[in-house]
Symmetry: C2
Subunit: 377 residues, 2 copies
Amino acid sequence: MGDPFPREVFVVGVGMTAFGRHEGKTIQDLGPEAVRAALADAGLGYEAIETAYCGHVLQGSTAGQRVLYELGMTGIPIFNVENACASGTSALRAAALAVGHGIADVALACGFEVMGRGAIPTGGDARLERGAPAGVAPLPALFSAVFRAHAERYGTTLEQLAAVTVKNRAYGAKNPRAQFHEAVTLDEVMASREVAPPLRLLMCCPTTSGAAAVVVASADVARGTRKPIRIVASVLRSDPAIDRGDALAGITEINSAAMRAAFEQAGVRPDQLDTAEVHDCFSIAEIIHYENLGLCARGEGGRFAEQGIKDARVKVSTSGGLLAKGHPLGATGVAQTVEAVEQLRGESGERQVQGARLALAHCQGFGGAAGVHIFAK
Amino acid sequence: MGDPFPREVFVVGVGMTAFGRHEGKTIQDLGPEAVRAALADAGLGYEAIETAYCGHVLQGSTAGQRVLYELGMTGIPIFNVENACASGTSALRAAALAVGHGIADVALACGFEVMGRGAIPTGGDARLERGAPAGVAPLPALFSAVFRAHAERYGTTLEQLAAVTVKNRAYGAKNPRAQFHEAVTLDEVMASREVAPPLRLLMCCPTTSGAAAVVVASADVARGTRKPIRIVASVLRSDPAIDRGDALAGITEINSAAMRAAFEQAGVRPDQLDTAEVHDCFSIAEIIHYENLGLCARGEGGRFAEQGIKDARVKVSTSGGLLAKGHPLGATGVAQTVEAVEQLRGESGERQVQGARLALAHCQGFGGAAGVHIFAK
């Protein structure tokens, strides 16, 4: 197996809050809960953290400090890292770089978001808002355009999107920290209201608040911890395609490039993965990520969702994914790591993938960044 | 001289826009102008940049991508870094870490901000807003409290604050990129209106838009460039004191700790500095930074502003500082680097400090972060 860093990097502690609406809660409530859980899992105190990277999008200036000062006034460097929906994976990438290149022996990556209804950031980028009908939130409209392009080119159907939701909601029903605890049927997904025609509500991730944290450490530190998991690939890319105004290219090129780079770093093939958390902000996105990952040929994602995924070695979005677990923007990439690590430790309860040894996590901040990490037991 | 990194780090290119109101301009106008200038100065194309760190506070999600996509779609990792008024110095610190630890051979640090009138972020932190009278912007009120505490304890006077403004405006009059091009007299400063009593308008930095960029590179790359300047200290700290609710401690402890650490890294003494850009967001701040730097004893900053600074070896805020050059939040720490590098190269025109060999730059995001860099010829 390859190595993305000059020295080995391990996740030695993971923690997260339940994801959900959390009405009335603040980041000072949620963030410290996740960090304390990650530290307890690692068997380390906050004073062991040498540097911290905090992913968030909507929480205002120095939000990371507001969260971490609840844990201690140790004076460590704190960086607030923002890359839209890839903010959490960017924080993890930064923490992994810090440990892997000897900047720190113990680094914290955390992510958190408190979101009101309908809070979808576009950064005011006209390229992200292009083609959004008045009164429709830009991202659902954009992914509706992605679906229509994919359907026109490859024959992908709404029922195939619904199949993704059914799978992820079934996983979510087995994850006590998921926002949605009920499984749904194909008919229920198809009968949910249209939010960005023809996309139905249950084909879109909900609005979510929550926090997640991981402690990243060197081999020396990891040796003293309970169940360290190694990071064998870590990639962050910005967009090569957004200026072409092609929504479908915007979800294929950056992600497949980042995933290919991650497989190369780790020296593994897609068919060796046991689990994969992908950025299923919309059901159509997960379908295209099957293709991006190389689990099926380009254009075959819809059919793979209906037929292939059941028999595939890799189990996708076992946490419930963004569709069922929820998507508190800055927390998502970190929470994906929590799922990957727990699966590799064999601590995923009812949704455990037996014998899992290799797990991937992927996030995309549309137009801005894609991050991919691969973890190995 | 010491070394803060496993391998040497150089600034090989600097660029910035003029600072000012820039009515109607966007970050896509200002940011690329600064980055192109820095690349041209380095003699490098944008494709040479391997990773980028973008400092900003108010520009929304993935603002760094919106700026850098104007220069090319190279797919490199772009991190948006936020630490309030220390966002720019945090971006520089991240880029220096990347080169110094072998993550990249060429990294970009840039910072930019487009600000409307009265846009002062506090991140909603009640600790920063404590004690702010209704109708007065929190930061002027906070620094008014800092002044009153310093005056009560040490006898510091408003005239001493005015002396700082007079000095920095005189420097600004010699800096073509400063927001204010006119020198002012002590009487004019004292006669300007009270904005946070007893602080006068000209004792507070203005609201500013602008952008700055620096190219950071390894020794191998630096050898091929025109006038590389070495980074001999790089420090970022979060706050050890804000939870005590003591405004004066909030501007002494974090900054003096960060400055001491920087002097130790570089293996130099304060009296060896030739220039220092400090975070003079208010005149009282520069006075306390004289003390934090060790240019005078604790409590002597006011008297040093009137009498000591004239004869000191170190020239402070030669760019005009935040008071005259302006303070576009995310750009400030990067622009301080532009001034330091130009001084060490002997390219500062009318405000050149003859024979400058050692320059310091310091930024504080109040309550969140302090960053210090020392540069050597």
